[in-house]
């Protein structure tokens, strides 16, 4: 029953998307000529309703344990607790594409609202492109990744064979194996995929506007202005998605790390880097009319990288928690990627005469110059990650040799690039447009530079002499110092002139140029992340202990006692672990339970570390082994790791705040009106 409804919903979206592609293109052409064109409400609402309904059907199936659907037979269990039963909807390939479709449909609907207000060719064309993307993804769900296949042959707790035809004779298993155990272990796993998808799929909107602008020969800054908010929304969600992914890896995967240059992580980082470059370079075009062609290249690349990322993670090319299974979706995604790249760049090539004209760079020592440097660094960064990610695949495809590109490769190239980026960030933020007078910039950075050097000196004297850490302290303090100095300077000047309080004026300054200051908030976040990365990757210590009940050991300034092992049975898993008491100066400060979780009949189990967070950093305990006589425990420290989480949140918050900036938009419009 649910399978019928689900399929009908998918068909509705698919047909709506096809209709939207066709009608959108016709309307765009008509409106370009000044004719009215047709109303696009119906196809858009079809796409949205179908997508909402398909997710609702999936959720209903999960809620009512309807194991007639093969998806549930393979990924759900009656015992799966809330909220993981809800999250099971995106715990495997077919369901995650449903989520993708829903997010795409939502963004399509939001673009349509913009279109409905303006009724212009640009947004109609963008809707046509989104319709085409929708045809692809809803087409996927109707063919190679059908979430509503029914189970036609069942074992006790698994579906053995399925059919796409809902009228097939159904044989449902009594129960299922439940979602991937790793995904049931932490709440972050329930929210990380939707956040990442909002970022990934969100990049479709600027891409759609860009293609529309090219196709309709409207290459001016209008498409940038219209998509700035969408780019920022996508970027902010992508930031959160990456952050929560790393956080989850740290809290769940039990290796004490948050980033391993795993292809799956790289897949999320590459579009983020390119989108970051785009957010900066689009400003240059809006303010100075430069980099027109470059912005198209960036936005097409960012979108292509999201498809590449999906291909890498979902196709089974790379074995990881994200690549669910070997399925037919790999070649299809690869084909779509080639189509997107070939189609976009062919269109770009035929329109290149329109985007070639650009005013010159007056001086490299200007805001736009620093944005150029920023773009260069970010694209080189993205290229390095791209090469490292696909080199093993290419080599294996051609020679059959299996290799891994590890940390040394990435660190050697990305660490210097990151420092260059921090330097550009510090200097660029306070460099005026067009041409910067040396003394002015020097005046703005002199104080912060002194503070930064002093901070580096203090770190070296009382903390660590490790070069990278000291350098990271200097660079991060410099970036934050420049921003703080600039704000206090402006607010102080206003306060002296008006006689009002300093904080009132500081708020006034922030609100007066919200786009700029929101960007600076993100910069502060990035600087904090850089600090966190430097501390945790260089100053972490670890030690292994063999313990019997009652044994006491010292670690990181704490006295710890292994009290006793414990075992408890929960509906979906059996948990085995060790009770560890943590004392500081004879006082009990925490009881930690590093443990192993056994789901169903899986003999290995999934370890869960126990983390104690303090301002100075985390103490991280993981169980290596447990048996009748004792335990083997590994203890780690992660100094100041909260800087990483806080920095990531601040970075994303800056992005969200920037979406609320309207003034910069109005001012550019006024400038252009004046130019014309």
């Amino acid at each position: 029953m649910l399978a019928f409804v689900g399929l009908a919903a998918l068909l509705t979206s698919f047909v709506g998307a096809g209709w939207l592609a066709f009608a959108g293109a016709r309307t765009a052409v008509a409106q370009r000529r000044g004719e009215p064109g047709t109303d696009l409400r119906t196809p858009v609402l079809m796409v949205l309703t179908g997508a909402l309904a398909s997710m609702a059907v999936l959720q209903a199936a999960l809620l009512f344990d309807d194991f007639t659907l093969a998806y549930l037979g393979n990924n759900h269990a009656r015992a799966t607790p809330f909220p993981f039963n809800v999250a099971t909807a995106w715990a495997a390939l077919e369901g995650s594409i449903v989520l993708w479709g829903l997010v795409l449909a939502t963004f399509t609907w939001l673009v349509w609202r913009d279109h409905d207000r303006r009724r212009d060719a640009l947004s109609a064309g963008a809707l046509a492109v989104m319709g085409l993307v929708g045809v692809f993804f809803f087409g996927l769900m109707l063919t190679v990744a059908n979430p509503f296949e029914v189970c036609i042959e069942a074992a006790a707790n698994r579906c053995l064979a399925s059919s796409p035809w809902p009228w097939s004779p159904i044989q449902a298993p009594a129960d299922g194996p439940g979602p991937n155990p790793l995904l049931q272990n932490h709440i972050l796993m329930a929210i990380h995929p939707p956040l990442l998808y909002l970022g990934y799929v969100g990049l479709t909107t600027p891409f759609a506007y860009a293609i529309s602008a090219l196709a309709l020969t409207l290459p001016g800054p209008e498409w940038l202005r219209r998509t700035r908010r969408w780019s920022l929304v996508a970027w902010s969600f992508l930031t959160l998605g990456i952050l929560f992914g790393g956080w989850w890896a740290y809290e769940v995967l039990s290796w004490g790390g948050y980033w391993a240059w795993d292809p799956v992580e790289n897949a999320s980082l590459m579009p983020w880097l390119v989108a970051t470059a785009f957010i900066h370079s689009s400003l240059v075009q809006q303010r100075r009319g430069m980099l027109q062609a470059w912005n198209f290249v960036l936005v097409i690349s960012a979108f292509a990288l999201t498809i590449l990322g999906t291909f890498l993670t979902r196709s089974g090319t790379i074995t990881s928690v994200h690549s669910f299974t070997q399925s037919a979706i790999g070649p299809v995604l690869l084909g779509f990627l080639v189509l997107v790249l070939a189609g976009s760049f062919a269109l770009f090539a035929t329109r290149s005469h329109l985007v070639a004209s650009a005013p010159r760079l007056d001086s490299f020592w200007s805001r736009e110059g620093s944005f150029l440097a920023n773009n260069l660094i970010l694209t080189v960064f993205a290229s390095v990650v791209l090469v490292g990610t696909i080199y093993p695949l290419v080599l294996e495809a051609f020679t059959g040799t299996q290799v891994g590109v590890g940390k040394p490769f990435y660190n050697r190239l990305t660490v210097p690039l990151s420092f260059a980026l921090l330097l550009t960030m510090g200097l660029g933020s306070v460099t005026p447009w067009r041409h910067a007078a040396g003394p002015l910039v020097w005046n703005r950075i002199r104080g912060p530079l002194q503070v930064a050097l002093a901070a580096g000196l203090v770190t070296a004297v009382i903390g660590t002499r490790l070069g990278w850490v000291v350098l990271a302290v200097v660079a991060s303090v410099f970036v934050i110092g420049v921003i703080v100095r600039h704000l206090t300077e402006l607010a102080g000047r206003r306060s002296r002139a008006t006689g009002r309080g300093f904080f009132t004026e500081a708020l006034h300054v922030l609100r007066g140029d919200q786009g700029y200051w929101a960007g600076q908030v993100s910069h502060v976040g990035v600087a904090l992340v850089a600090l966190g990365l430097a501390f945790t990757s260089n100053l972490s210590v670890h030690e292994t202990f063999e313990l019997e009940p009652g044994d006491t050991f010292a670690f990181a300034g704490y006295e710890m006692t292994y009290r006793a092992p414990f075992q408890r049975t929960e509906p979906s898993r059996t948990v085995v672990g060790a009770n560890i008491e943590v004392h500081s100066d004879g006082r009990l400060v925490a009881e930690l339970q590093p443990r192993a979780n056994h789901f169903g009949s899986d003999p290995t189990g999934i370890p869960s570390p126990a983390v104690m967070s303090r301002l100075s950093g985390d103490v991280y305990l993981m169980l290596i082994n447990i048996d009748n006589t004792g335990i083997r425990l590994e203890a780690n420290t992660s100094p100041l790791i909260w800087l990483l989480w806080v920095g990531g949140l601040v970075t994303a918050a800056g992005g969200f705040w920037a979406t609320q900036a309207r003034r910069a938009e109005r001012r550019t419009t006024a400038l252009e009106a004046a130019d014309a």
Partner: protein
């Protein structure tokens, strides 16, 4: 020199520099994945001190701890190699689990300083054989 040519030369220079750096780092930053039978067959190409990753299953009953060194034997069904692991043992390391160890040949033993447990995409122990296609 004209403005345009200056930018062009600058761009080509930057691209060339990046390519050289990336290729250079790749050639030294890559580690090979080998199964025990491949490692034995290619023993001559991987001299003592050349790092690679060895993938196999821990043979039942071979785990022995000696101070900070954990010794065990990995197998791919065809060949077996004795491994001496210094450094952290991955959580839930046990007989029969598929592991990936990184290190170098020392004589006919493998000297590893890193080890991870390999799970398949369902995060459960793979069936015998064909466990390490990645």
């Amino acid at each position: 020199m004209s403005h345009r040519r200056f930018i062009l030369i600058g761009a080509v220079g930057v691209v060339a520099l990046v390519v050289v750096l990336v290729v250079n780092s790749l050639s030294s930053g890559v580690t090979y994945y080998l199964y025990p039978s491949e490692a034995v067959a290619q023993r001559d190409e991987f001299s003592d001190g050349t790092r690679f990753r060895l993938a196999g299953t821990v043979v039942e009953g071979t785990i022995a701890e000696n101070g900070t060194v954990t010794s065990f034997v990995v197998s791919d069904g065809a060949e077996q190699i004795a491994v001496d692991l210094t450094g952290r043992v991955p959580p839930l390391f046990a007989d029969g689990v598929p592991v990936l160890v990184e290190g170098t040949w020392v004589g006919d033993r493998f000297d590893a300083d890193e080890a991870v447990i390999r799970h398949d995409e369902n995060y459960s122990i793979p069936e015998e054989g064909g466990a390490f296609e990645s």
